[in-house]
Structures are given as C-alpha cells and as structure tokens.
C-alpha cells in the first residue's frame, strides 16, 4: 500500500502543469459582465444619435432655422415660429426661484445638522428630510397647484397671480431640491477633518466662526458641486412645471404669470396624439437634446470641481 501511494504521488507530480487552461465558462461570464458594463455607453450613444438625428430633421423642416430659434422670442408651432426664448426664460425663472429657496435653506440645514445638532437630534431629523427627497415629483406638482398657488393668490391678490404661474412651481421645486443640496453639502462638511475644527476652537473661535469661516470654506468645492447638481436637477425637473407653471409658451419675467418651460412643453406636446415625423414630434427631440446638453455640461462641471479642488489635508 505504501509503495502504491508513493508511486501515485510520483505520477501525479510528473503530470502537474501550471500552463493556462481554457476556462470557457469563465470567459463567457466575463463577456456577459463586460457587455453589462458597456451597455451604459449604448444608452448615451442612443440618446445622442436619436435626439441628434431628429433634431437635425427638425432644423431641416421648412420654416425652421437655428439662428431664428436661438434669437427670437415666439414659440408658436402652428404658425411655424420656433423661438426658444419663451421656453428658456420660464425655465430660467423656475430654476432661479428654486435655487433662491434651496441654496440658503439647504446650506442652513447642512450646517445645522453637521455642526450644531447633537447626534440624537441629527439622527432623527436626517431621515425626515430624506423623506422629502423620496416623494415623487408629481406629488410636488399637486402640492404646487393645490397649496402653493392658492397661498400666493391669497397673499398677492387673485388678479395679480394667475392660476398657473412660474413662482409657485419654482418655490415648490426649491423644496424638492432642498434635501439634495443639504445632503450633498453635509457630506462635504463632514469630510472636513476634525483636526481643523479643533484648531479653530483652540484659538478661541466661537461655533459660528468655526462653522462659517473654517469649515464652510474648506468644503467649498463640495458645496459648489452640490449647487450645480441642484441647478441641473431644476432645469430638468418636469412634473412640477407641467402641473403648475402653465400651458403655453409665454415670454415673460413675471413669476405670477403662467409660462411653459422646456420640459413642460415636451410633456404637453407628447401628451396629445403625436404623429411621427411631424414638426411637433421633431421639436421635442430638439428640445430634449438641448436639455441633455445643458444638464450634461452642468454635471461635468460639478464633477470637475470636486476632482480639481479636493483639498489634501494629509
């Protein structure tokens, strides 16, 4: 028996090979995983190709030209007027109002939670604010139309504030974006090392001085990124404006008057019966492409800021 075992061992030893063996199962799986990873590229290419193709068709339609689109202030598809400014100004209005609410409040919340609140308060308040971020935007739209608009009309007068208006949509959009800005800002604030806070406290700084003059400046890149992401979110936000901002392009800077944003227009046009290759059909692709480019640029800027200005403390 013993002899046999030794022989077996010898035999085994002589056949050991460290050469690479083909593992077909592994290769197939790896291929599938690679495909999954690569799939997201298809989505981007799909967006660029489809939106670009139809947008091109849009600008080749009779009566449409790019220069007029970018410079004129009337968007009236039925008479072939495609000036983007009325859609753009109302998008700007709602975004501006939303950010005017979300930036100060979001920063206030973030500083409070990160620098002031004791752990117990913080762990109660944070999930409550996260609920705000999880509510579907259509619910915010409902809120804008049935709560904020009546409130504004109560305050400023029913003949001043129209039933549909960009102000109400903007304000509610601000509430929607608040938790986004506050949680990103809070992340940036809590990434500031504790030693920096200690340094400031040890120099006899008050809590406010530590928070606003040491911690916030040190987290500035993260805060800037949060604000840009917030803007991008506001520009692309759809349901609140579709419900509350008004149906019909309107070149105005008054927050009390109804005016359709880019996203609102897309929703209204595509909600009806949309026939392929009509000018309306092509126009939503052109607008979608425009929206895609704006938000993409904003997101890239925000990522670049974070990478470029990340302070090295070590």
């Amino acid at each position: 028996m013993a002899e046999l075992t030794v022989k077996n061992l010898e035999k085994k030893a002589s056949t050991i090979s460290l050469r690479r063996k083909p593992r077909w199962g592994e290769t197939i799986i790896q291929g599938l995983l690679f495909f999954s990873g690569f799939f997201s590229i298809f989505i981007t290419l799909g967006i660029v190709y489809e939106l670009g193709k139809e947008a091109l068709l849009f600008f080749q339609m009779p009566g449409v030209d790019l220069l007029a689109t970018l410079t004129t202030t009337e968007w009236k598809p039925h008479v072939n007027k495609f000036g983007i400014w009325p859609l753009l100004t109302s998008t700007l209005m709602t975004t501006l109002i939303a950010m005017a609410i979300a930036i100060p409040l979001g920063m206030g919340v973030a500083v409070y939670l990160s620098e002031y609140a004791i752990p117990k308060v913080r762990s109660t308040l944070k999930p409550i604010l996260e609920i705000l971020a999880g509510i579907p935007t259509i619910v915010y739209g409902y809120f804008a139309l049935t709560f904020m608009t009546p409130l504004l009309r109560e305050i400023f007068g029913k003949d001043v504030v129209q039933i549909y208006n960009t102000g109400s949509a903007g304000l509610v959009m601000g509430i929607l974006i608040l938790p986004l800005i506050s949680s990103m800002t809070e992340d940036a604030l809590s990434a500031v090392p504790r030693s920096l806070r200690e340094a400031a406290y040890a120099m006899g700084a008050t809590k406010l001085e530590v928070a606003l003059q040491i911690v916030v400046p040190a987290a500035l890149s993260g805060i800037a990124a949060a604000i840009i992401v917030g803007i991008s979110r506001a520009v692309g936000e759809t349901m609140i404006v579709a419900v509350a901002a008004g149906a019909g392009p309107n070149f105005t800077f008054s927050p009390f008057i109804g005016a359709e944003t880019i996203t609102g227009h897309i929703v209204r046009i595509s909600g009806g019966d949309l026939s392929y290759d009509s000018i309306d059909y092509n126009s939503i692709f052109a607008l979608g492409l425009f929206l895609f480019i704006i938000t993409l640029v904003l997101n890239i800027i925000s990522q670049a800021i974070v990478r470029r200005f990340r302070e090295v403390y070590e």
Partner: protein
C-alpha cells in the same frame, strides 16, 4: 484681564460675537424647521383633500325604482338584473353580459351597476377635510339651500373599493386598480432589464475592470447618465422602444395582434424606458455594496485557488447581496414614482381595462395622479389626493422593506 487685552490691541468683543452666534444658530435651525414644515404641509394638504363632505344629486331618483314597496337598495339580484334589462338599451345590456355573465356576478356587483348606469349620482360640490370638520353646520345649510335634492355624505375618497375598482369617468365610482396594476406590470419589466444589467455592470467595474481610460469612460458615463433628466429618457424610449422596436414592443413579432397596442405604446415600452432610467442608479448603488465587502475575503478565496468567478459568486456576491438589493429597491421606488418619461412614451389617458400582457396599453399610478390633478373640478383633486396616498403607502412599504433588509443582513466585518 480686560485691561491686558486692550493694551495688546485686542478688543473684548465676545458679547457681540456670541450674539451673532445665537442669531445664526437660530437661522440654521429655522432652515431645518422650514424643511420639516414643508413636508408636513405637503402631507396635510393631501390628507385635507382625501376626506370630506360630498354633495351629490341622483340623475334618476332612487325612490322611483321602488318595486312592490321594496326600495332599490334592498332588492334581490334578479330584480336588479331585470331593472337593468328594462332600463338600459339592449346593446348596452348585452355588452355588460358579454364582459361577465350576469349569472356570474354577485348581487353587490349588480347593485353597483345599477348605481352607475341608472341612478348615476352626480357630484355638485366637494368640501375638504378641515372645513368639513369645522364648518359642518354651515355646509349642511348650504346644501339644503342650494341643492335641495342633493344628498350630503362624509366620504373617504381613499377606501378599499377605491384601490380595487377600475378607472371610470365618474368620480364617485372611479378607482385606481387599472393604474396600480399598470405600475406593477411596468415595474416588472424595469426590474427584468435593469437588475441583471446593473449588477453585471457593477461586478464588471468593481471586480474585472482594470484601471485604464476605457473603463474610466464607462464609469464617468454612468455617473453622467445618473444626472440626465428623466424626460430625456422618455424621449429616448419614444424613439427606440415605441417607434424603432415597435414590432417587438407591440407584440406583432410574436404574432400577437392586439388592436389596442399596435402603436407600441405598451407596458413593455414603458417598463424598458424606466429600466434605462434606473440602470445607472442601480449600478452606482451596487458598486457601493460590492466595495463594502472587504478585500481580505476575496484574498482568502483566491488563496485557495478559486477562479475569479468562483470568488465573485461564492464569496463576494452573498455578502454584497443585501446591499445590492437595498440599492435596487430604492432605485425601483424611484421608477414607480416617475411620471414625465411615461407621458412622453405614451401612457393612455383613459383606459378602464386592466393590463393583461406586456403588449397592453398602460397607465400607471403617477400618470393617473397627473391626469386627475390636471382636471379643474375639485372632486378629481380629491381622487388625485387619494391616489397620492396609495402611491405613498406603496413607496413607504418598499422603503421600509429596504431598511429592514439592510438591518437584518447588515454584517460587521
């Protein structure tokens, strides 16, 4: 000590610094409170519309339907069927009989039909919850003065029946079953597309991808896709799933001829569109879950001669799975709440039949809310409020299950 400070050129300014500190502290706290108040206002506003008094008039006086002294609500099923047969046109009656044989319907269902088709209550005015509570006498007075024939009822728009009834154009009998089923069907295809692709991509990026320009592009691209507005996905879905792949998404390819879905605006298109939308979110969440599994575990597996896939399958995945599932559930709840892309893809405005296949026309809960919110009449706002409550309960239970999953399986390394 104060004297020393002044000699050195320092002012004793502590009082004013502390005052400033208190003012800002209050401001920061106030921001937080404003956020919470907004949440409360949002919820109360919904609840306020979901309950309250409703005054309605019957288009046909129920008393006139009394047979042999038995009021209509106490009549037997046969009597009610006879009533329907005698009142409705024969075409309408036969259509009802064809949908479901009267023999198979319960008395309750038949009675419901009598109410819907014959009595046909019509809402004349709706009050919200708060006025209904505080000014009920006034409301009663108004009703007796202005609508002498109307009945006044305190109703909860959100009822079990509301959830189980199909959509109709009559506010009093409308329900969200069609929309809820539409949402579930849609989400099914969202999950089927996004979960395997998302987890696969996350595994590829975390375990297989080496650090080079190509994989960096994939990663950057995913981060950027997560920031693309949802409506752009809707437009993409319209171009790809509804139009280019119409033969597939309408079922023609499989020989299914369904008149209602021949344009490709189907449950399948909607689900796939939302799948593209949540894919980047699922990938990013799954990557985080995978990254949380310690390196040492993989090394242990490689150390005993396991292949890469064996390591991933038997060691990494089981440990990362709770995190991956939690992230997926959160992404799915985002998809359930989406409205804009589905409007663009072509949700139907009014369908009363339930979706029955991937190739059915569809509506979803948020779409239903959108449509009811857009109607000017108060009763539709109330229906929207009730559907919002259904949607929020659905999302809340999803999120709760995500939290439970995280707590139940969270392992400490």
């Amino acid at each position: 000590m104060k004297e020393i400070a002044i000699v050195q050129g320092f002012e004793n300014n502590l009082d004013s610094r502390n005052r400033k500190g208190i003012i800002w502290h209050v401001l920061f706290q106030a921001s937080t409170i404003v956020g919470i108040i907004a949440l409360i206002a949002l919820m109360l506003n919904v609840i306020d519309s979901a309950f309250g008094y409703v005054a309605y008039e019957a288009r046909m006086d129920p008393d006139s339907l009394t047979v042999d002294g038995i009021p209509v609500e106490d009549q037997s099923k046969d009597q009610l069927v006879a009533l329907l047969q005698s009142t409705l046109s024969s075409g309408a009656y036969n259509k009802l009989d064809n949908e479901t044989l009267f023999v198979d319907r319960s008395r309750e269902e038949v009675f419901q039909l009598v109410v819907e088709r014959i009595i046909r209550p019509k809402i004349v005015q709706v009050w919200k919850f708060w006025p209904s509570l505080t000014r009920s006498d006034e409301i009663r007075a108004t009703v007796t003065r202005e609508y002498p024939k109307a009945e006044l009822d305190f109703v909860s728009w959100l009822t079990y029946d509301f959830v189980t009834r199909p959509q109709t154009s009559e506010p009093l009998t409308a329900g969200v079953r069609t929309a809820v089923l539409g949402s579930l069907w849609t989400i099914l295809f969202t999950i089927l597309l996004a979960f395997p692709l998302g987890v696969g991509a996350a595994i590829y990026l975390e375990e297989y991808a080496s650090e080079n320009w190509f994989n960096r592009i994939i990663q950057t691209n995913i981060n950027n896709l997560a920031g693309v507005p949802s409506i752009v996905y809707g437009i993409l879905g319209l171009a790809i799933f509804v139009r280019a792949l119409e033969r597939f998404t309408s079922g023609k390819m499989f020989g299914i001829v369904n008149l209602t879905s021949e344009n490709g605006r189907t449950v399948l298109s909607a689900g796939l569109t939302l799948g593209l939308l949540v894919l980047p979110i699922i990938i990013i969440n799954a990557q985080e879950a995978i990254r949380a599994v310690p390196r040492s575990l993989r090394n242990a597996s490689f150390g005993v001669g396991a292949t890469k896939w064996q390591t991933v399958w038997s060691h990494m995945l089981p440990n990362a799975l709770p995190g991956i599932l939690t992230g997926t559930i959160l992404a799915i709840s985002r998809a359930i709440g989406e409205t804009a892309p589905l409007v663009v893809v072509g949700a139907s405005t009014a369908i009363s039949f339930d979706p029955s296949s991937p190739f059915s026309k569809f509506t979803t809960l948020p779409i239903q809310i959108y449509q009811w919110t857009s109607r000017p009449q108060e009763e539709f706002r109330s229906l929207a409020a009730a559907s919002i409550l259904v949607l929020l309960v659905l999302l809340l239970s999803l999120n709760a299950s995500a939290v439970l999953l995280r707590n139940r399986f969270s392992r400490r390394f």
